[in-house]
């Protein structure tokens, strides 16, 4: 358990991102505060990944500002992200975690204990010495989660963490996300799986064509969406 960190709230002030003449995000105003997981939903290409990269600080807005605890350009010391397709370092599972711990400046004396804890948390302790790139898709995703948590983050961003996983692997990942959230780490995740949004979300933000269509507490959003786009998306229609 931790005290709320200076990373939060993360605020978007009129943020627009354009690339090659295409507007990817359009005038986003948003506050990500501590609390249960925030889930971004929306069709492919709606801007979910770009929004996560902005919030992580990997991408600078074309217009507008992103602030962390009221400050701009805060280095990502207490933020971590799991990408949609995490790159596994060409090392063992344990060495991937050791690398992240070293990058985060964690004292060497704590590495062995932290690696054991993290592997235990994601259920990979039996595979510590296995080459990370030889792990299955689900195992790699769990290792990527452990590697992100090695930074001891206050905020964890997840980009479609269960895309292309089977139900068993999906459940394992979702259980970890729940545990993480219970440890008071703010989870912000993108998904286009409505079932997953229903299982994990405290708050839902729906994006469509680079704009926020609707936000709200998960229960009210899912049961009584206010906008036509959200109703269409929830009804399983193809939003184009």
């Amino acid at each position: 358990m931790r005290a709320p960190s200076s990373e939060l709230p993360i605020q978007f002030h009129g943020v627009t991102v354009t690339a090659g003449g295409v507007t990817i995000l359009d005038d986003i105003a948003l506050t990500l505060a501590s609390g249960p997981p925030t889930v971004l939903i929306g069709p492919n290409g709606s801007g979910k990944s770009t929004l996560l990269r902005l919030a992580m600080g990997l991408l600078a807005p074309s217009r507008g500002r992103v602030t962390w605890g009221g400050l701009e350009l805060v280095p990502p010391l207490k933020r971590a992200i799991v990408f949609q397709r995490p790159a596994m370092l060409r090392r063992s599972a344990a060495a991937n975690l050791r690398f992240a711990l070293r990058a985060a400046g964690i004292p060497h004396a704590e590495h062995a204990r932290r690696i054991a804890e993290l592997l235990e948390l994601v259920g990979l302790h039996a595979l510590a010495d296995r080459a990370a790139r030889r792990l299955s898709g689900g195992e790699q995703q769990r290792l990527a989660l452990a590697r992100a948590l090695a930074r001891d983050p206050a905020v964890l961003f997840l980009d479609e963490p269960t895309a292309s996983l089977d139900p068993i692997a999906t459940k394992a990942v979702e259980d970890i996300i729940r545990t993480v959230s219970e440890r008071n780490i703010k989870v912000v995740m993108a998904t286009h799986d409505l079932g997953e949004a229903r299982r994990l979300a405290g708050e839902i933000i729906m994006l469509h064509r680079g704009r926020i269509v609707e936000t709200g507490a998960a229960a009210s959003f899912l049961d009584a969406p206010q906008t036509a786009e959200a109703r269409a998306f929830l009804a399983g229609e193809l939003l184009i």
């Binding site: 992580m56 990997l58 990408f83 790159a87 370092l89 060409r90 090392r91 690398f99 992240a100 990058a103």
Partner: protein, 230 residues
């Protein structure tokens, strides 16, 4: 054909003169590859990770330099090391050191160009992760070189193959002096022109065997390493 021992007999008898030639060849080529690695790997990694004006031109040039003609390198190093050249004061011409210098010049572009390609490909894969981990430039380079180590071994092998096989550069700057700067390739060139074909063939067999053994060792190292590290 002159009378004398056959190629096989020469090799099997462990002739001390032959042994000295083999030893010098390995000393020169391995030293050159080590020096070229010290220059070429950091240089290739730096070009891979840095954006600067004229970068495309540098990459094209580096790739072109992989095909440097050894005799031209030999001539350039000869001019630099000769008495009246800029490095003449060191008195290196016609010594093994001059041969190492020439082969280093020859091999460095090969290692640098292959390193650049390898590191750049890996960087595309790792960029997001390493940036998200807030890793500094030095940390990135170290991580990339370490994770590319098995591919970089191949770059070193390419360099070694080039150095071990070339004759044009070292015959110019070394002079093929018996017992001092005579290597396998310069000896083969000399013995062939003299007509002592058994010795030339013997040396050729030894040279090919060494290249095969070095490659086999590196290959099994790579296989074992990849099994452990993925």
């Amino acid at each position: 054909m002159p009378d004398g021992p056959s190629a096989l007999q020469l090799v099997l008898s462990g002739d001390p003169a032959l042994f000295a030639i083999v030893r010098l060849s390995l000393y020169v080529s391995l030293s050159a590859v080590a020096l070229a690695a010290l220059i070429g790997i950091p240089l290739g990694a730096w070009i891979a990770l840095t954006r600067f004006p004229g970068r495309q031109g540098v990459i094209v040039l580096l790739n072109a330099l992989m095909g440097l003609p050894p005799v031209v390198v030999g001539l350039a190093v000869y001019l630099a090391l000769s008495r009246s050249g800029p490095l003449g004061a060191f008195g290196l011409l016609f010594t093994p050191s001059a041969m190492i210098v020439a082969q280093t010049v020859l091999v460095t572009p090969i290692i640098a160009a292959l390193t650049r390609q390898t590191i750049e490909d890996l960087w595309i894969e790792y960029r997001d992760e390493l940036t998200a981990m807030n890793l500094g430039p030095l940390g990135r380079v170290m991580a990339l070189i370490w994770d590319a180590r098995f591919s970089l071994v191949t770059a070193l092998l390419a360099g070694f193959g080039r150095a071990a096989a070339e004759v044009g550069a070292i015959i110019i700057v070394g002079g093929n002096i018996e017992g001092f700067t005579r290597t396998m390739t310069t000896a083969i060139a000399l013995e062939t022109s003299k007509g002592d074909l058994p010795l030339a063939v013997g040396l050729g067999l030894v040279l090919i065997s060494i290249v095969i053994v070095v490659n086999a060792l590196a290959w099994s190292m790579r296989r074992a390493g990849e099994r452990l590290a993925g």
